[in-house]
């Protein structure tokens, strides 16, 4: 008996000559448990809306100063660097 070649195997599956009953367990066929929706208070909703608004409006149009303030973590006290 000869072995099935790889390209023959592709044809078998592509044209559904042979179908597998066992499906791989993926997110598509696994029923995820439903998460209870958190009900936001009016204050939280307003806060969220405000944050979204601030983030988009600042980020899109951005306040542009001359330069950034150099404040990298661990280097907050650096004013002059001789060997960059």
């Amino acid at each position: 008996m000869r072995l099935i070649r790889q390209n023959e195997l592709i044809v078998i599956f592509k044209y559904k000559i042979f179908e597998l009953d066992v499906l791989a367990l993926t997110k598509a066929n696994y029923k995820l448990p439903t998460r209870k929706k958190v009900k936001l208070s009016k204050k939280q909703k307003d806060h969220k809306k405000r944050l979204e608004f601030e983030n988009t409006s600042y980020a899109l149009k951005g306040f542009k100063g001359s330069f950034v303030v150099f404040r990298e973590k661990g280097l907050e006290d650096v004013f002059v660097v001789d060997d960059l």
Partner: protein, 341 residues
Amino acid sequence: MKIPTPNSSVRDIGKVVFKSKNTYFDLVQNGTREMIDLWMYNYARNIPDILDGNSVRLQSVFKNNSKSMKNHKPNNSAIVIGAGPSVYEKNHLETLANSNYKGAILCTERMLLPCLKSGITPEKFPQFFVLTIDPKAYTTKLYDDKILKKHGKDISAIMSTCTKHETIENCKKHGLNIFWFHPLIDDYRKQESVNKIMNMMSKSDKNPNGLPGLQTGGNVGCFSWIFSWAILGCSPIGLIGLNMGFDGDTPLEKTYHYDQVLNHFDNDKSKVGKFYRKVFNKDLGTESLLDPVFNFYRAAFLDLVVRTPRWTKTVNATEGGSLFGKRIKNMKFVNFLNTYT
């Protein structure tokens, strides 16, 4: 070629930024980092001048180690001149021009021509500096006036490597002595750091190690203050025209960044006011109005001033504005001149 505009795709450069409690601070900071295209555009065009130019290191009184700075004993004071409204309201330029002040003068670029025209010249004040960190085109005209032909050769121009190239051309045209530095913009400890790459490209026979990187504080007024003590070793440093805000009763429409802020809110005037705040200067008993940009600069300055070496004294002689607090002494400008001449 089209001159670059802010590039939002490079915002992740700012992700390592110091996490401030102030959300506005981070937003303005990251927004500014989007200017990276423009900085690099200018930097590339300045490279021939940088390779053949002088480093700010030549101006430094410190040896290349932190101990030298820690144990420094200043023997010279300095005055930083910003372009805030109080400099005109209080006639500070005339007061300085008529004084016998012997310390260093540090002009922000916007004040160069007004200073020279008011009699604050390098002939009268031999330690005369002008500084620029802004990459934008408007700086070009600030270095173009016939008065510079007379005084240019005696002025030291401290220039960011990302300054608009036409501005550098004007400085050269008028004979200003240019000294270069890299503005610190990201974490130079990392191999992919923009600052690190900039410095690699600036190494030359004249400057085998490249150029120093300097904290700027985000604006030229703050940078001038940093330069005065961190490079020149001056103290005390008197500040004039560094209002970082407006008088408390100034209408919002008359504030410097109003149009910019209005634009953020799609011209909805009702929203603009929410982003302004007032602070009470308890040293002077006056109220200051801050727009989001000045709020950002003020927060940076107040944060930096407490990190300076103990020998550094900062005197706010602006007679107004929002700079007050720990390690800042408010004083009238005439008193500063009488005390530290």
